[in-house]
Symmetry: C2
Subunit: 252 residues, 2 copies
């Protein structure tokens, strides 16, 4: 039995795919409406209390937002583990490792997958197909093997990476692109209906990414502020230099 | 008969779609290999000399890069027009209008469509389907009507816009996103194979846009340097401020 704590976009997608594999899935969400919606979508077989879920499931995924995942892990410190594998899916890994000290059979992971939606209604069984799913090696070859098998069972590709290295990389591959998409999307919308009509492929992509809700990202960006700050400062200088260096000699 | 001067991605796509409509298409390209490739792909029925094309076609599209389009238009000044409609498709409109002064039956246009490829091999009949196709009104209702009919015949939506207004808008909807994609893609690639593996949806999109060849964009960016410079300076300041303001209070 797989247990999912937090049945939103990622948790719901894990549930949909796991049930396709024929494994039973139990869900819990602090918001009962989200849990009910996940059940209605077929992402979980049943809804359980938080305690019952931790008592009965062999594999458990914490798929809440980052700060809730840290709180959840702090609560589990020193608990006797009836689970064989416990993973999170948050997109910054250093605060998770800190919160998870003393939590048994735990591995920090991050699927590089998502879409501009959120909540169980945006979940999709094929969300992880062929995607990288990063994990921070635990020091136990047996536990790492369970993580890789879990990830491969969802159609994704496991990839070992250190937490600090991971957080530096995603600042550039994910967090900065998202912040720039919000800024550019606001500039496009400030140009009114004309600007939206004059979007080519890149502009349409910017507007799509710009719809990703800020509240989903807030604690992630805050937790990775150091990596974002240094990469972002370099990028904004490069952008200013490139825009200034565009040769106006052939201009109108 | 439709004539296409420049049988690359855009010219080739116009040819593919026009031939689907049952209209004969003649192509010319300064590079004979590109013209031959367009013919092999079925984007044109035949290849003609530049002079023969201008003498025999009722509708003519100049689909060369921007600076070649300006040169082409300057050559046509004061020529007697045997064509009923002549359009360009360049993505900056002020230099085109300047070059086209005294060219008969001409309208400056810009399809908001494309992909990260280039050349006839990247052409696709459905490239313009449902897309906005901007045009700068000519002052002649009759000529404007021909432009709209031509655009609608390719599956696109005609949209009237002034040249300066157009160029300011595309600086934000197209040119800045492209420049940022190159900068971010370089940062991702600098992180090596690990960073490429740790790309989520936004990062993969950045890498895709970043593959658009710079030489295709060079004269376009140069021609719109003023609009790019002011919008880009504002954006780089906003980005530096946002990255600095990410709340590090919850950080690791």
């Amino acid at each position: 039995v797989l247990g999912i704590v937090g049945t939103g976009l990622i948790g719901g997608s894990i549930g949909l795919r796991t049930r396709k594999n024929g494994t039973r899935v139990i869900g819990y969400d602090a918001d009962p409406a989200a849990a009910a919606q996940a059940r209605a979508r077929g992402a979980v077989d049943g809804i359980a209390s938080r305690d019952a879920l931790y008592r009965t499931c062999e594999t458990i995924v914490i798929a809440t937002p980052l700060s809730a995942a840290c709180t959840e892990l702090e609560r589990l410190r020193g608990c006797e583990a009836s689970w064989h594998l416990l993973v999170d899916v948050a997109s910054v890994k250093r605060p998770i490792l800190k919160a998870a000290q003393g939590v048994a059979n735990f591995c920090a992971t991050h699927p590089l997958a998502g879409n501009e939606g959120s909540g169980p209604s945006a979940a999709a069984a094929e969300l992880f197909e062929g995607r990288t799913w990063a994990y921070v090696p635990t020091g136990s070859a047996e536990l790492d093997g369970r993580v890789r098998a879990f990830v491969e069972g969802l159609g994704a590709r496991p990839r070992a990476v250190g937490a600090a290295e991971h957080d530096r990389a995603v600042a550039v591959t994910s967090h900065l692109p998202q912040m720039i998409a919000w800024l550019l999307a606001a500039k496009i919308r400030a140009g009114g209906e004309l600007s939206e009509a004059l979007c080519g492929p890149a502009g349409r992509e910017v507007l799509r990414l710009g719809r990703s809700p800020r509240e989903v990202w807030r604690d992630v960006l805050a937790a990775n502020a150091d990596a974002i700050g240094s990469a972002g400062a370099a990028l904004s200088e490069e952008l200013a230099a490139e825009c200034g260096a565009v040769d106006g000699g052939n201009g109108p």
